[in-house]
Symmetry: C2
């Protein structure tokens, strides 16, 4: 009798955790994998968490569930949708680590619009990793959380530690991100200039698999290491002029690889190019601002806090600009 | 007395020649030199002369002149202007080859606007080479004329032979262009879409010297040889789909090198990027057209004659387009 009660209790056991994570903007880009399944990158990368933007995710392991349930921004996903499969596959890793088989309810929402030029998968998989591992009863180190997040989305590894983060090469266990400076080390701002809200036709996961088809990728990888070291040094010296030249070079090199892959990936549009040109004009007039561009058309303008107003004002005057978001540095992925 | 008359006759001896040459559009680009003074390229290139466009140049060696006189499109150039010095330096080579010291009157005019996205120096130095060598009494082979033209402007070597030309690697004597097919071999058309008439801030000569400062240039050079071979084969097979993919890749790789050089060269503007994107949309709707872009913002749309009207119409609907020029294949540089 006691035994039956114990069993019934176990059958309805519920464990829940909620986590919050910020997206990040890469100064040295991640593009291409040594191992696609494990998302082990071919080059080190460097980024800043975006404190004003976040994704919040609640994971509830519930023995009464027959299968996982996924809701993103109030929208429920069916089990045959790619997002559902990617998320459940990620929770499977956590279940394996925790040695459980329980299904989960996963509810996630972001305070930034989809298609805003913010890589939503980084914040999503960082928050999912922190919430799901805690709900599963695991106590993971930051490195383990970064490893776990990386397996869901490479750049999510960089959304786990705080502030400014580097993600270095290694195997499944040690290719993880660590913080090189806290958010208050330097008040850099990311002015995200939205020139298109269309969904990209080739997502990052597919793009990474195309990287090696470009005849420029090998040279990009070789150069990325020295750009990474130089950018890291400039960042720690709070030298925006030096850092800015490196991040722009790194961006155009990544897009050169994209545009020369087979098939080619053209993420830039007319608005992107207008902002690239405008950035140089603004600088020539004394406004210290530098661009970086992820796998999409929208442009991230990087400047110090003192120049945010001027950058936002200048950006809003360009014809293709649909929206502008601003964020300073952010903290780590964390339970809330 | 006779002697004096002979002397006077000699003192007023006049030798004149007029030549015409077409600009060319490169399918495989020339970017970077092994030897800047001799303009020996780091990679082979491939082009089509543009028959509808030409530069006509008259060179008159006149013993009565104290120094060279240069007129381009009815505008006279002073001796301290870069264009004057570049042209006179070129005529100096001819004087050296002909063993004369006579000054010359050089009058040149083109039927296409400056700043139209047509590399005017190719036609200019091809016409100048043919006219000045003939006026100096030299009888040069096509290879020697191509060599001479190359020393004035690298791509001018390709405007000397007829139709479709390849310019291969070599030393001063054998790095010259030869025709691989006459103009009537294939009725390809270049629809030049003008999105800016501003003069470029960094000309090609300066740009070639920056090529080696890009970390992508070595990879570009390695890849250029196979692109050259594949493009040559596709051209001779009149296979536009195959050729088009190669010329677009070659273009974005060259611009990747330009944008990642130190300092970076951003030749593209918003209109350029809009046309790059539009070209892919047009193709997806069944219009077989491919882009190529020289060291400037204007875009050359390459298609077969049957599709010129549709391409021109489509291009004119894009907001940044200021002008559209059309040309089919052209003949060699020649005396007229």
């Amino acid at each position: 009798m006691l035994n039956q009660i114990e069993l019934r209790k176990k059958a309805t056991q519920v464990r829940q955790a909620t986590a919050l994570a910020h997206p990040n903007i890469a100064f040295i880009k991640y593009w291409g994998n040594q191992d696609h399944a494990l998302r082990l990158p071919v080059n080190p990368s460097l980024s800043m968490n975006l404190g004003a933007l976040h994704t919040q995710t609640t994971v509830t392991f519930d023995d009464s569930l027959q299968h996982d349930l996924l809701t993103i921004n109030q929208q429920t996903y069916a089990s045959d949708e790619p997002a559902y499969q990617r998320v459940c596959h990620h929770v499977d890793i956590v279940r394996e680590w925790a040695n459980i088989a329980t299904s989960a309810r996963i509810e996630s929402s972001s305070n930034f619009p989809v298609g805003s030029g913010i890589a939503s998968s980084a914040a999503a998989f960082a928050a999912l990793s922190v919430a799901s591992s805690a709900a599963a009863g695991l106590t993971l180190t930051e490195a383990q959380l970064s490893q776990l997040a990386r397996r869901g989305s490479g750049s999510a590894s960089r959304s786990v530690p705080t502030g400014y983060c580097e993600w270095t090469l290694g195997n499944d266990v040690d290719s993880v991100a660590v913080s090189i400076a806290p958010p208050d080390y330097w008040d850099l701002q990311d002015v995200v200039v939205v020139v298109s809200q269309e969904h990209k036709t080739v997502g990052s996961t597919g793009g990474h698999q195309l990287a090696d088809t470009s005849s420029l990728q090998a040279a990009r990888v070789v150069g990325a290491e020295s750009r990474f070291n130089a950018c890291r040094e400039a960042l720690l010296a709070r030298d925006l002029a030096r850092m800015g030249a490196i991040i722009e070079e790194d961006t155009v090199i990544m897009h050169g690889v994209m545009m020369s892959s087979h098939p080619p990936l053209y993420y830039w549009n007319a608005g992107t190019m207008r902002i690239i040109q405008a950035t140089q004009q603004w600088r020539s007039k004394g406004l210290p601002v530098y661009f970086t561009i992820d796998a999409g058309p929208n442009v991230h303008l990087i400047c110090e806090a003192a120049h945010v107003q001027a950058v936002v004002k200048a950006a809003k005057q360009l014809p293709e600009v649909q929206d502008v978001l601003v964020s300073g540095p952010g903290g780590p992925a964390r339970l809330i």
